[in-house]
Assembly symmetry: C2
């Protein structure tokens, strides 16, 4: 399968050169002293907190990061390759609120968080369970990191996302994961989770993010170096200008990781979009978001790095047509442009503010459809079916042909929630909307959920850990 390209090869080079110029002459602010010291030793000029990156250093360092890596799940059948021809779908991340048809919009709780882990575990099209689908607002902030990780490891055997909240939480994540996945050295070889760390746009990194970036890099644990530049707010309003700011931030972060530990796995992670000028809000449902996704995929390929972009993104406040088509726009763009890691593939609503149960299920269907498209075809004589075409001829039918029976399960995507029946049957079944079917489906999945088994010794140790946190 080919890739959609938004920019030409020459245009990419131009954006790359402009990025390096910005890194060298405008520089980026690093408030974290250990990062500045390391960058200075590598040859960066420093002025106060501002770091100027020599072009050669950046080009040298980013080449050291691997072009793909594997996340090792508790269940080896669920290992996930990040990079190459693969695409991985990961649910929503960081939403303070949750929403469903029955109870409406409210702050997320640990119960909601656990429900989303269970749903992400149950949906075959989601590859990684996520790490912060919603914020568990009902428990003390100091417990949240441990509780999230505990649930991720116990309630699912898929890879998961680690702490993206600072160096202490990063260390705790590795400590807890170590109970299940072995020593730091073993995890560096077979990492079970990936974390997302973000720049402070424009052109900066704060202490917490920088500290965590360095901790993860030191441990050889995979991480997204992510930029969300908002065209017209935290970046130039032009696509090119915003791309340069995004690029400079990601490359600066990746350069830092490789100086900490050569070969530390990273994901080139762009999630820039546009501001809604009329309201002064961020718009993640804008076509400019899809444009940035395509451009980010191209830049990632240019640097030979795994790349993050897209998602089931929307500005809509409710699960409606806008939410659905904006989500599909960015999911299709991610699929067709060669993105490897699609965070926010399920559930997100209101520009990252809310995790919706119904949208989680609807987006899961979108993930399934995108995976069908991404799969592509392998042409064989059997699939060309010239003999079958000759046999059926003009005016015949294929429905009852053995060839159809033999191949339809492989060839045709089988929808979970979609209505494909005729109007009168649909009407007889109660004229249900997709949203209503999604509401029923998430409840069904939670009801049918069974916890994957875990080694009792590991489980005991994990339980012991979480109890000590709860009693602290």
């Amino acid at each position: 399968m080919g890739f959609f390209s938004y920019f030409s090869a020459e245009e990419l080079v131009r954006i790359h050169e402009a990025t390096l110029t910005t890194m060298e002459t405008t520089g980026l602010v690093f408030t974290y002293e250990p990062a500045r010291n390391l960058l200075a030793r590598a040859g960066c000029k420093i002025d106060g907190q501002r770091v100027f990156f020599p072009k050669k250093l950046v080009e040298e360092q980013i080449r050291k990061a691997p072009s793909q890596f594997t996340l090792y799940a508790r269940n080896p059948e669920k290992n996930v390759v990040v990079g190459g021809d693969h695409i991985a779908f990961i649910p929503c991340y960081g939403a303070p609120f949750v929403n469903d048809m029955d109870k409406g919009r409210r702050p997320g709780t640990l119960l909601d968080y656990n429900n989303f882990v269970k749903l992400a575990h149950a949906v075959p099209y989601l590859d990684i369970t996520g790490g912060m689908m919603t914020e568990p607002n009902d428990i003390p902030i100091s417990h949240r990191n441990a509780e999230r990780l505990y649930s991720s490891m116990v309630l699912s055997d898929k890879p998961f996302m680690g702490a993206g909240t600072g160096p202490e939480d990063a260390i705790e994540a590795m400590e807890m994961a170590s109970i299940v996945f072995g020593s730091r050295e073993e995890m560096a070889k077979k990492p079970p989770f990936v974390s997302i760390l973000c720049s402070l746009t424009p052109l900066g990194f704060d202490d917490k993010m920088c500290g965590a970036i360095m901790e993860y890099a030191k441990a050889g644990m995979p991480q997204l170096i992510s930029s969300l530049t908002i065209a017209g707010a935290t970046g130039p309003v032009t696509m090119e200008g915003t791309l340069i700011v995004q690029n400079a931030e990601i490359l600066a972060g990746i350069t830092l990781t490789q100086l900490v530990r050569e070969g530390a796995p990273v994901i080139f992670a762009g999630s820039s979009s546009a501001s809604a000028m009329r309201y002064g809000t961020l718009s993640i449902g804008a076509p400019e978001m899809a444009v940035n996704t395509a451009a980010t995929a191209q830049m990632g390929r240019f640097y030979n790095l795994p790349v993050r972009g897209g998602g089931a993104l929307t500005d809509s406040k409710t699960v409606d047509s806008q939410a659905a088509y904006e989500s599909m726009m960015s999911m299709m763009m991610a699929t067709l442009s060669g993105i490897h890691f699609v965070l926010h593939s399920a559930g997100i609503l209101e520009g990252y503010i809310t995790a919706s149960y119904e949208k989680f299920m609807i987006d899961s269907e979108i993930c399934g459809m995108c995976k069908r498209i991404k799969r592509g075809e392998e042409i064989t004589a059997e699939k060309l079916a010239l003999d079958v075409i000759r046999e059926v001829g003009s005016g015949g039918e294929y429905l009852t042909h053995m060839h159809t029976f033999k191949h339809f399960r492989q060839e045709l995507y089988a929808p979970v929630l979609e209505e494909r029946d005729n109007y009168s049957n649909w009407h007889k079944k109660g004229s249900l909307t997709m949203e209503q079917r999604a509401n029923a489906k998430y409840k069904e999945l939670l009801e049918k959920y069974t916890e994957p088994s875990m080694d009792p010794e590991m489980r005991k140790e994990l339980d012991h850990y979480i109890k000590s946190v709860r009693n602290a």
Copy 2:
């Protein structure tokens, strides 16, 4: 801007060769004797109604069709180029039913038809008004063709779609258009409309379609040669097999047009999809529809012909999340894979059965977003904005910068219906869904609609024509 490719170049050649083999050895049924006679004279073998196409003949003839052409609107500012780097969006076609929130689902009427012409005229992202957005069921069948054409020419000054119903209607369409657009010779040079003619899948053409194809070709009027093969029903269940059946039908039709008149403009038109095996229905919301769109775009490029595919297609029975994301899937695929002519870009619901007023408006927004993406960028120093990035530096903002003010209108798509405000403002405004806003918007557009002026002599003659039809 590049194109998304589903198949590799070698795979395309393989499908092309398999298509020619099918045309040569399996052949296609043409029930229309004049077509068979013409094809026989060109060297086709004939067996009863079955026509076997020599490979060389097909390759020779399809090369004669132009790679792009222009539709000349009554208002020259609304001319539409079909082919090249352009994409044209055309509304729904052929729906027997209409639907809106207020009155529900019912058979379409002439009033509905006229309303859709007015809406297609008003929406800037729709390039051609369409020709049969809904069937005017409330008037005699014998009047419908004339009434549709009359409305298309009077209520809008955009290009429109002609008769796709048979040779008599095709002749009437040219006769009526001639009142406004000049003689047959003038219209051959500057065609004002395009028509859609379809194969009888699998591997056939009936009298009506064949007759119209030959009439239009003779007149040099542009036409879509269209195939809707249903994988697993009227074509093999494999994507490759269905593509071969589709390809054979389109190439047979195009060969016929070029034998009638060398250089007659045609559109390579694929709209094949999958059957929903569980229900025995056609599914146009399936991911296989998007796959076929990408493959069709590639085949069209391979033959250097303008190509039709995609649309705001859905199997949903109601305007919900399913309708929205299925529509965006096929619209994005059409946009990114290089389709030129996108029929059904607005309003279609229930797999071609119903034209929805609300969906018409929602899909129009999708068209606007796809056009924004398709536009691409032209990189300049001003757009790279390195000076602006340097000036703002780290931690600054771009919202109040002159560069943002200067460029935002060009750079950022301005949505018509989308909600991008924050949650509390949205709530204060009445918590409206996209569907509710679309309902209000279509009424607003109809209320604000003003008829474009027309030369009084032409109008008089057109009125005279339609009156004679009504009194017949």
